[in-house]
Amino acid sequence: MAAITVKGLRKSYGDNEAVRGIDLEVTDGEVFALLGPNGAGKTTTVEILEGYRHADAGEVSVLGLDPARNAPALRARIGIVLQSTGIDQYLTVRETLSMYAHYFEHPRQVDELIEIVGLEEKRDSRVTSLSGGQQRRLDLAVGLVGDPELLFLDEPTTGFDPSARREAWQMVRNLTALGKTVLLTTHYMDEAQYLARRVAVMARGRIVAEGSPDSLARHGGDARVRFRVPDGLEAPFGAASDGVVEVVAMDLARTLHEVTTWALANKVNLDSLDVLRPSLEDVYLRLVGEAAS
């Protein structure tokens, strides 16, 4: 079952084409990450799925519903954490969550939510007095209050310190253990790699790559073998810069064999040998660079 299906989605603001025909499919129970540089169209896409904005063209189905027509029915079943949005400054954390809890038929326990996002100490503090990261945690708690089947997280961990980010990741994992589906956008490659079963890279309104984080990383081109050539020796396999040789290994076993054969023949111990695999980050930067040019 697909929690989200998108076909040929388009959206323009005036003559700025923010989303230029994208297809997406998010399976029930998976974490799907939408990556992409600023202005790629991630928020626009997500807000169309949430029913906030209306598509110019294309088909959208979220939990079997059309968000443009069935927003009320849909909103009982989804949780939304917007990229940036306000919250009443004069209520406390607990009051805020109690208020939102009453918007839903089957809300989660307020105290349990406070614990999940780690705001126990701020339970009775006014929202004004929370730090940026703490406010973001409250945003997360509000997104979870309706116990949603599908959770939208638009850059959920921006502004988190490293340990808060780890905790948020753990929280998302706990959700998926309960069978929930998560669509998240992020700028953090490690976040996508850690959380997402599948990733789509978006640039300039298009999806430029899609797949599991590992399969995307493999798309980044061949591994490279790098080692240092001792002073006085002529560099093998073409030019060295500053005595470091880097060989693109189309066939890693063969390349390593050639390198070690050369090393034995020349009594080089290769203690600086590295095998470099393309990271998701490399792939991302390459894809985004290609899309921009």
Binding site: P72, I80, I87, L91, H102, F104
Partner: protein, 255 residues
Amino acid sequence: MINLRRTLYQLRFTNLAYWRNPSSALFTFAFPLMFLVIFTALLGRHTFMLDGRLVHQTTYYVAAMASYGLISACYVNLAMVMTFQRDQGILKRVQGTPMPSMAYLAARVIHALAVAALLVVLTAAFGRIVYQADLPTGMALIRFVVMFLVGALSFSAMAFAVSSIIPNADAAPALVNITIMPLLFLSGIFIPLGDHAPTWVAWVGKLFPVRHFAAGMQSGFLGTAFNWSDVGVVALWGAVGLAVAARRFDAEPRV
């Protein structure tokens, strides 16, 4: 019915936030009471003729500040708060939940109405206790309540209309006040209009809702004539406000 339950629950939080927000608690709640004390203390000893009746200045101000209190709660505060909530994305967040927008907005209007009622009661009690002002009773009280309710709903509708036109929260205090302050002066709320007011001032009073509203509120206190046409004009403005708000009011700022 489920919406009524949600509205009532929402009221609790709307109320909490209201009293903790200095802009609403001080600026729109305390101001009418402060003006009441100042005006009656400075100008309260005099009497003057109104509609052929001898009227005590204090009683006049009790009635006028009751009107001002309602306008402050249902128009000034509501218009500002809705603009702020829209600009900060609070309305957008609520919109993303199953809470019906109408239930949420209804809580705001009911709250404004309750604050207005509180202001009227405090104003009347102050007038009664300190200056032995006359209070509406019997039929006059019923007519007074009608004017109060029609006024509260109409000024709330106008608040939503104005807030839908205000471009952003920074502009809200200035724009809301500029739509209402001149009218308060030209409608005899702060300074009683004598018989010799210029004709254009009389016309402003006839055209806009504040003078009509104040006249309806006054009648119960001062024994002046109660005209159902005053109620009608206020309701008409309310209807126009509602129509504009229904077309334009949005949970997100316009871009």
